[in-house]
Subunit: 198 residues, 2 copies
DNA sequence: GGGCAAACGGGGCGCTCGTTCCGTTTACTT
DNA sequence: AAGTAAACGGAACGAGCGCCCCGTTTGCCC
């Protein structure tokens, strides 16, 4: 819930002015509405609709986020950080072997994206022109995933000729396949995972 | 090149009136321009752009195709028929075994879609509200693919717990993965294909 | 409680794009 | 060669949507 912070910049040091109470409240309402709306319909949802659901005017949204894209990224950055945290905690867990940890995350990642249209879209997008905050979050996720992959490869659980970039592409592919196949959730992902085993 | 036919309806029997010469010419020009434009940019290309490339006015496009969607489908139906023909000819070829035939088509299908943004989009789309002609073409493709799959499964080359629908989903997934991964074309598809083997 | 800057909100602008309309041109007929 | 209906083309319409402007409201400080 990092994005529920009151101030968009310089949270610790008291900057020029503290935010007004209603502004803080509205920022949170917009963010919550955006989360729900983007998750349900992806970037396609009109900004006016988000404003309406948040109970504010469109102008208010634009005071807090310079552009629709920026609002989208604010939502996405949160999700990416959560996923990065998941990867890192699996990495730290000594109870499961490398292969299990890797595939566990692989499945969790795709399952999560399935329920969040925006995340899927964000991962599919080329990812150009990202704000620094988003870029950092994406980097942390990639880093964690990369270490999970390496460990699993060293353990002989995953074929050695796959890079993180290719893995990312396969995740996108699995999400696309999963969305297309109605019955038996996770089956497409399982097939693709089988193709990844050594 | 079935769509280069002069008359949209009743080609054999002389209907109400034969088409005027310039109309025939323009229809073909529109179809060619649409083919190129849709292949390059998918459905996103504006209709005015297609008209411009074809050297006609937008109104002319609409006399031949009631809607942009209909024009799109006219292009897609051709592609689907060509693919169905490919599947059928592989089916008829006794020189290759069932597994080879299946995977050969699998790779060909994805490679083809890679070069044609519109085909990829069409396969990804839910496919609701299709014109009868398109529905028929899609059915023929699915039928051929289905027989290739069955034969390969019976031969033990492909895992038995996959249906045509799921296969379709995996094709879409492979296309998505392939588009996302820059280097070494076909690698993502090969990994997914490995997941499909028995 | 009064003053003031910050925040609000929604009407409106500008752009894109699918579709239609209609005055003009062009191919066929006799 | 003249008449006619089919076909043309591009200006114009309308809908959707991102974004901005500005008159009004509201929280904050003295």
């Amino acid at each position: 819930m990092t994005s529920h912070d009151a101030s968009p910049a310089a949270p610790g040091a008291p900057g020029p002015r503290p935010m007004r109470a209603d502004a803080v409240r509205n920022r949170a309402k917009v963010l919550d509405a955006a989360r729900a709306a983007f998750a349900a319909e992806g970037l396609a949802v009109p900004l006016d609709e988000i404003a309406r659901r948040a109970g504010v005017g469109a102008g208010t949204v634009y005071r807090h986020f310079p552009t629709k894209e920026a609002l989208f990224e604010a939502v996405i950055a949160d999700r990416l950080l959560a996923l990065a945290g998941d990867a890192e905690s699996r990495l730290a867990d000594d109870g499961v072997d490398a292969g299990e940890a890797f595939f566990g995350f692989f499945f969790a990642l795709i399952e999560d994206a399935e329920a969040k249209a925006d995340l899927a879209e964000a991962l599919m997008a080329a990812g150009v022109h990202l704000q620094p905050e988003t870029r950092h979050a994406a980097g942390r996720l990639t880093g964690g995933f990369s270490r999970l992959l390496e460990r699993a490869q060293r353990a002989g659980a995953v074929r050695g000729d796959v890079t993180v970039t290719e893995l990312h592409a396969l995740v996108v592919g699995a999400m696309a396949a999963e969305k297309r196949a109605a019955g038996e959730p996770g089956k497409m992902t399982r097939i693709i995972a089988d193709g990844l085993r050594a």
